[in-house]
């Protein structure tokens, strides 16, 4: 299938779509983790996102999509100074991937045929300034997870092996999806995802029917279907671009910062990453809806997805983390508290 399913045509799954849009507005949020049952459209949404993202400007022929000619790594020997537009890279990290393939390795062909030592960039290079998508992230081999943790933290891929000493920028938005029944995710990796959403299949008949209808139309009447939804996608892309521009002008009042800290304290979220991510997500949310100032509403809108996976897990508490976050938001920002202030 050449074209992915259009993003706007995904029925329901509001939270997942919102999280993905927020990372498109501010890649610094640091990725989305989508956990849910089989057959709920996780992969579909990620593929759709790839088609939705605005293009980036990059140096022609640069293996790491550098934004300026002087940023090209010297090992790449990029000669062209020409800038071209290319789609935001969305790179798939398949489960069976080898370490060489991820970080890059000695270019065996050149080593064998010409006896040269050259670096062949891996998936991390290709994903720079874009997205790295891992389907079934909870089944990923541990040593690959270790690699990713390190790179996602530093934003730089350092290869010291086989006599090569190479470094290149690797800033990407990590998108993972998986089914929690097949295994848990390592807490360290969990923490690297800025936002986390849980998806379930729609419960009401009407939206289920609608899903089937759209998918069927997509597969069997592709041209008409794409035409109908391409406009919607284009509009959404326009809004993302506008929000990106608006992000810098956005004001963050001190009271919002305070709310942010209070909420994290009340929930006992580990570390400060939760606060920072929530604030960034709230800013992106404010920019997306077109407000000039980040307010409590924006915080409440993004709190569940920013904090859900950072709570200290209490297995004896039957309520899920999402409910705990919602409860805390209600207590702190709810009508009662507002009235008291």
């Amino acid at each position: 299938m050449s074209q992915p399913f259009p993003f706007s045509a995904i029925v329901g799954q509001v939270e997942m779509k919102q999280a993905m849009i927020l990372t498109a507005i501010d890649p610094g949020i640091g990725g989305v983790l989508v956990f849910g049952d089989r057959g709920t459209g996780k992969s579909t949404a990620v593929r759709a996102l790839a088609a939705l993202l605005p293009e980036i400007r990059a140096v022609e022929g640069c293996p790491v999509n550098s934004a300026r000619p002087d940023l090209c790594p010297d090992w790449a020997k990029v000669v062209s100074k020409k800038m071209i537009s290319r789609p935001t890279p969305v790179v798939d990290l398949p489960l069976g991937v080898t370490e060489d393939r991820v970080v890059g390795a000695l270019d065996i062909e050149r080593a064998l045929t010409r006896g040269e030592k050259a670096f062949e960039p891996g998936l991390l290079a290709r994903a720079n300034r874009g997205y790295l998508y891992i389907d079934e992230v909870n089944l990923l081999e541990d040593h690959i997870v270790d690699l990713l943790l390190d790179v996602a933290q530093s934003g730089e891929n350092v290869v010291e092996r086989e006599g090569l000493s190479i470094r290149h920028p690797a800033r990407f938005v990590l998108v993972g999806s998986g089914n929690p029944e097949e295994g848990e995710l390592r807490p360290q990796l969990l923490d690297r995802f800025g936002l986390s959403v849980e998806v379930t299949s729609p419960k009401d008949i009407d939206s289920r029917v609608e899903v089937i209808k759209r998918r069927d139309a997509f597969e069997n009447d592709n041209a008409a279907f794409m035409k109908r939804w391409r406009m919607q996608d284009k509009k959404l892309r326009g809004r993302i671009v506008e929000a990106k521009a608006a992000l810098n002008l956005l004001k963050t009042p001190d009271s919002t910062l305070r709310d942010c800290a209070e909420l994290c304290l009340a929930l006992g979220a580990d570390g400060l990453r939760g606060e920072l991510t929530m604030l960034r997500a709230a800013r992106a949310q404010a920019a997306f809806v077109g407000d000039a100032e980040v307010s409590r509403d924006h915080l409440s809108a993004v709190a569940p997805m920013a904090l859900r996976h950072r709570l200290r897990r209490d297995p004896l508490d039957e309520a899920g983390s999402a409910i705990r976050v919602a409860r805390a938001v209600e207590e702190l920002f709810g009508p009662l508290r507002a009235a008291a202030e």
């Binding site: 489960l95 370490e99 295994g183 289920r208 089937i212 297995p315």
Partner: protein, 556 residues
């Protein structure tokens, strides 16, 4: 409504559908032991329109995705890669599908989703919990079970030419009403995944193409439902919500009530589709549902791959070595080792144009892997304190799972009471699954300690075969009073328990005896001695204390 098909007819119909649209349907899950019926069936897969590849559960990534052809590369002196099986569209036949590991299932699932592949999974599982991984089963439209089929039922074969039907397929229309009915029926049968109705749509289209209908008709949809939904159903249809439907709730949805007043929200085909699905439901569905275990509740069972130290795990620096067919070459290290000698060797043998690699240059890969640990809780569910003890054990299991990711612990839970022991939680690392499994726990009855130990030993043996390191934690407060054969004979019961304990000891399985009674019991202390296990009296153990004690005792 059409009468349901007999099993062989249904098998033939599934085959025909596969011939019409293998990729759209995803494929077929065939549950059958090897035998003449399966032979007769699989022989007819030869005519499928795509090329066929056979794979097995132990297949590696190089075979799937392609990779370097080492001998050809070294011989030719230039890079020669081999294309993997998934490189081009194909019908993959997966043998022994019940042993398919989760990783392979995920890879195949991705191939089915986007790369125009179809899968025929030959599932030879003997036990109900040995079956195709659910992630794969979800993506395959068709399911057939040929287990009970006598050879006499295998009569005809399918006729040859499906090209015409394939040509008709893109033009088949799917009326919106039928589409909606297919979706509604799936929901009524408790099928959560949205892939099921999509696959049913594909099956209905293929049927219409096969029957030369211009658009999907009710009978096509009915057969599609029979083939696609029956094995996925997780519940019998509930009566409609009162707001949606004014008909009174009907206790037996199978009964034909088309002449009763129907509201206009539901039209007749819906009812027909539901009936078609119900007619094809597996006979033991009720039993499965009663056991609180839907057909997809068991993940990961039946994967029997033992871990091999030199194949996977954390890479260690490679070492000089010989290729003995088991270890893997580290190509880059080999080349680096050979590189400095090239000019010299070239001077020695100028007629040899390619690289000069000598056996001494070969470097082999090494991996280090620590095996996963399995903690088996054996909990006494007898007598009065049973409920509290089980609840605490459950809490401890969940706590350990929640805390112990880094230590890679798996946890299993066995409860013994009455006359037997029961494996309540098979070895798992999933907190989600644990919560679901342990929602309700039974308690009360005698103390069949020996049976509990035997169950623990079985789980431990299985776990060891899968490359895990099992440990056993026994929680009880009393003496054994039920023997292995179920008789209430205190002396015999004690003897049996001691015998099982000796067996466990002989297997070198580390254990831990936790006495939850108010007063320490000598019998348990003796049992701990036989097991060579620490004996910990812990009256009024709560979940946190329990998990702390268990971790501390087993970590040393």
């Amino acid at each position: 409504m059409l009468p349901p098909l007999d099993p062989w007819q249904r098998a033939l119909l599934a085959l025909r559908l596969l011939h019409v649209d293998p990729v759209g349907l995803g494929g077929l899950w065939l549950r059958a032991r090897p035998g003449p019926a399966r032979e007769a069936f699989t022989a007819q897969l030869a005519g499928l329109p795509l090329q066929q590849r056979r794979i097995h559960p132990g297949i590696g990534d190089v075979e799937l995705y392609g990779g370097l052809d080492l001998s050809a590369t070294l011989g030719a002196g230039k890079l020669i890669t081999r294309a993997g099986i998934l490189a081009e569209p194909a019908v993959l036949t997966l043998t022994m599908a019940e042993r398919c590991p989760a990783g392979l299932a995920a890879r195949l699932g991705q191939a089915l989703d986007g790369q125009g592949c179809a899968l025929v999974a030959l599932d030879e599982g003997a036990e109900p919990d040995e079956q195709l991984p659910p992630g794969l089963a979800d993506r395959l439209a068709l399911f057939l079970s040929l287990d009970d089929l006598p050879l006499s039922a295998v009569s005809e074969t399918i006729a040859g030419d499906f090209a015409a039907a394939r040509a008709r397929l893109p033009r088949v229309a799917l009326p919106a009403a039928i589409l909606a009915d297919l979706a509604t029926t799936a929901a009524a049968l408790g099928i959560a995944s949205l892939r099921a109705p999509l696959l049913a749509c594909a099956a209905a289209r293929a049927l219409a193409a096969l029957n030369d209908h211009g658009a999907v008709e009710v009978e096509d949809a009915q057969r599609a439902v029979e083939l696609v939904y029956a094995h996925r159903a997780t519940m019998f249809p509930q009566p409609e919500d009162p707001e949606q439907d004014q008909t009174p709730p009907e206790p037996e949805p199978q009964q034909d009530d088309r002449d009763q007043g129907q509201s206009d929200r539901i039209d007749i085909p819906d009812e027909i589709l539901l009936e078609a699905a119900l007619a094809a439901l597996p006979r033991d569905l009720l039993a499965q549902l009663a056991a609180g275990q839907s057909s997809r509740a068991t993940a990961n069972s039946g994967t029997g791959a033992a871990r091999k130290g030199n194949r996977r795990g954390r890479p260690l620096p490679s070492r000089p070595g010989r290729l003995d067919g088991r270890n893997r070459i580290d190509l880059v290290a080999t080349l680096s080792a050979a590189a400095p000698w090239q000019p010299m060797r070239r001077a020695q043998a100028p007629h040899h144009a390619a690289l000069h690699i000598r056996p001494g240059d070969i470097r082999v890969k090494r991996f280090q892997e620590t095996s996963d640990r399995l903690l088996i809780f054996v909990v006494d569910a007898s007598g009065s304190a049973a409920m509290a003890r089980l609840a605490e054990a459950k809490g401890a299991v969940e706590l350990l799972l929640a805390e112990a990711y880094a230590r890679r612990d798996h946890v299993a839970l066995i409860a013994f009471r009455g006359e037997t022991a029961e494996l309540l939680l098979p070895p798992t690392r999933s907190l989600v699954q644990t919560k679901r499994r342990l929602a309700g726990l039974p308690g009360g009855g005698g103390t069949p300690l020996a049976a509990g130990l035997r169950a623990a030993m079985e789980v431990a043996l299985q776990a060891r075969a899968r490359g895990m390191t099992p440990s056993i934690a026994i929680l009880t407060d009393g003496r054994a009073n039920i023997a292995l054969d179920g008789t209430a004979d205190r002396a015999l019961a004690g003897e049996d328990a001691t015998r099982m304990a000796r067996l466990l000891r002989a297997q070198n399985t580390p254990a831990l005896v936790i006495d939850t009674g108010k007063r320490p019991a000598d019998a348990l202390r003796d049992l701990a001695l036989v097991l060579d296990a620490p004996y910990i009296p812990l009256p009024r153990a709560d979940a946190r204390k329990l998990s702390a004690v268990v971790s501390a005792a087993l970590d040393t």
